[in-house]
Amino acid sequence: MIDLKNIEIGHKSVLFKIDDLQLVKGKMYALIGANGSGKTTFLQSITGINKPLKGEVMVFDNSISKLNRIEKAKTISFVGSKFDGIDYLKVKDYIALGRTPYTNALGRLDETDLKVVNETIELLQLDHLKNKFTTELSDGERQLAAIARAITQQTEIIILDEPTAFLDYANRKKVMELMKKISIELNKCVIVSSHDLELCLESEIDLLVVSKKASVLKLYEANSLSKIELIEIGF
């Protein structure tokens, strides 16, 4: 569903190239690379915030830059590395903001919207948190709320930029397992950038590695690399 052919990623100079990659639904990919290797720039190219220096990111045979705002918002959702919480914003209202591309001009939630929100809350077991303010949650709970918001957006692609960076081990593990489960059960294409090599290997997911020497992004299937090999390629 995401087709990447002859693409050059970078800001002013080329950071890395992609020869030919297909990312599919029902799978989760971990994006791995050294600091400054261009991971964030790559994710921004997929969300359409930045254009690749060369080539185009194709989603369902359409160039991402050709999609209008609403189509894009219904195709790709994004979770940042940290959600600090917002004063007086309740968890359920925050999650419901994921419905923004679907609601009418006034932003009113209809029955379908409410159903999606409630199902997501149930799926992520956030029922006990839904009436709390986002500022009252722990970092781990807030990250789950951010993921829930992305899921209510009902996009085929979910992108997470270092979602585990500020979490403890238990929460990091929980987030990765949850995203893997979501990719399989909800049939989504999930891309997670991460510095946590052990966690990515343990999670048994496909790896997208920016190779240090060749400056190329390559796909390695789950369990095909050892930690030492991974370090050698990427760092």
């Binding site: 969300t47 915030i49 705002r69 609403i70 894009k72 918002a73 219904k74 790709i76 959702s77 994004f78 940042g80 917002i86 004063d87 007086y88 914003l89 309740k90 209202d93 903001l97 994921g98 923004t100 591309p101 609601t103 001009a105 006034l106 932003g107 009436n131 303010f133 957006q153």
Partner: protein
């Protein structure tokens, strides 16, 4: 569910409170006027009757201006706070008021008749606020720190203030007097005949908020996330500045600069309603702002026989400490 009902009750309380406060406002003043005079002044106006003149030319326009200025400035403040993601933003602190002041001062002192008309004054105040709003918006793209942006707004205000002083020293005494009266801030500068155009601008400014409610809710998450949720962020930013300019410009043109309402009321409303739903916040700001400014003006009127306090001074006396409390609460 519980909090939604609580907010409904709060709005109902405010809806009941507003006419009560408005009633008290009408009756407060140095001359006491009987209830029947209010009714007859508006239905069968008698130009010989002093009470009728007071009601129609003084009390009634003052009440309407109080409601419009309180509600309008509070809504403008809320829009700025959401746009810049900064609870301490407001049309006054970001320099939109000073933009209006500069343009009005300039237009009043040019002596061109158009600028002395109601429409001319509104337009220059509105353009001033819009121009300065765009300047601040441009700065906000470069300056990412909240505090720095506020400082730039304050500097913009001081910078403009200097120009206004220069204009004052150059102008003839009559224009100067007119400008100084205006700059003191008062709800009493409006005449009955000017109300229709003021109300028209106010209603168009307030109703335009309906078009941006959804975007405001999403903007709370920050501009980049709002963009990914399908909001036309670039376009909405300009619309928000335009609505703020209409409301701020209109009110500044007719009441002079009124400080702290736009800053303090939206924060008070968020504390009362505990929500980020802008549908609720906008209604809350409209009602709370009106009630707040009318109460301030009732005090101004009660004290008028002994001492004349400009409304601008009273809103600052109440507003400034409240803002300090908000800052302290954020640091804690």
């Amino acid at each position: 569910m519980n909090s939604k009902n609580k907010n409904k009750i709060l709005i109902i309380i405010l809806v009941i409170l507003l006419p009560i406060i408005a009633g008290i406002h009408l009756f407060s003043g140095t001359i006491s006027i009987h209830f029947s005079d209010f009714y007859s002044a508006l239905t069968h106006f008698d130009s010989e009757n002093t009470n009728h003149i007071i009601v129609k030319n003084l009390r009634f326009p003052r009440l309407v201006m109080g409601i419009i200025a309180g509600g309008g400035l509070s809504i403008a403040g809320l829009l700025m706070q959401t746009l810049f993601n900064n609870p301490l933003a407001g049309p006054d602190i970001l320099g939109l008021n000073s933009g209006s002041s500069l343009f009005v001062a300039f237009s009043l002192m040019t002596g061109i008749p158009f600028f002395n008309s109601d429409f001319g004054t509104i337009m220059s105040a509105l353009l001033g606020a819009f121009a300065f709003g765009l300047v601040i918006l441009a700065f906000s793209m470069v300056v990412k720190s909240h505090v720095s942006l506020l400082l730039i707004g304050i500097m913009l205000g001081s910078f403009t203030g200097a120009f206004v002083s220069i204009l004052q020293s150059l102008s003839n005494p009559e224009d100067l007097k007119m400008f100084i009266m205006w700059a003191m801030g008062s709800l009493q500068q409006v005449e009955f005949s000017q109300l229709p155009i003021i109300i028209l601008f106010f209603i168009s400014g307030t109703l335009s908020c309906l078009f941006v409610v959804k975007s405001l809710d999403a903007l709370v998450l920050g501009e980049s996330q709002a963009l990914l949720l399908g909001i036309k962020v670039k376009y909405i930013r300009i619309i928000l500045i335009a609505i703020t300019a209409i409301l701020t410009g209109l009110i500044t043109a007719f009441c002079g600069p009124i400080a702290f309402v736009g800053l303090a009321v939206p924060n008070l409303v968020k504390i009362l309603f505990k929500t980020q739903s802008h549908r609720t916040l906008l209604i809350g700001c409209l009602l709370t702002g009106s009630v707040f400014l009318l109460i301030c003006d009732i005090f101004v009127q009660l004290l008028e026989s002994t001492i004349h306090i400009p409304i601008n001074a009273l809103t600052s006396i109440i507003g400034a400490p409240f803002v300090v409390v908000i800052v302290l609460k954020r640091l804690a």
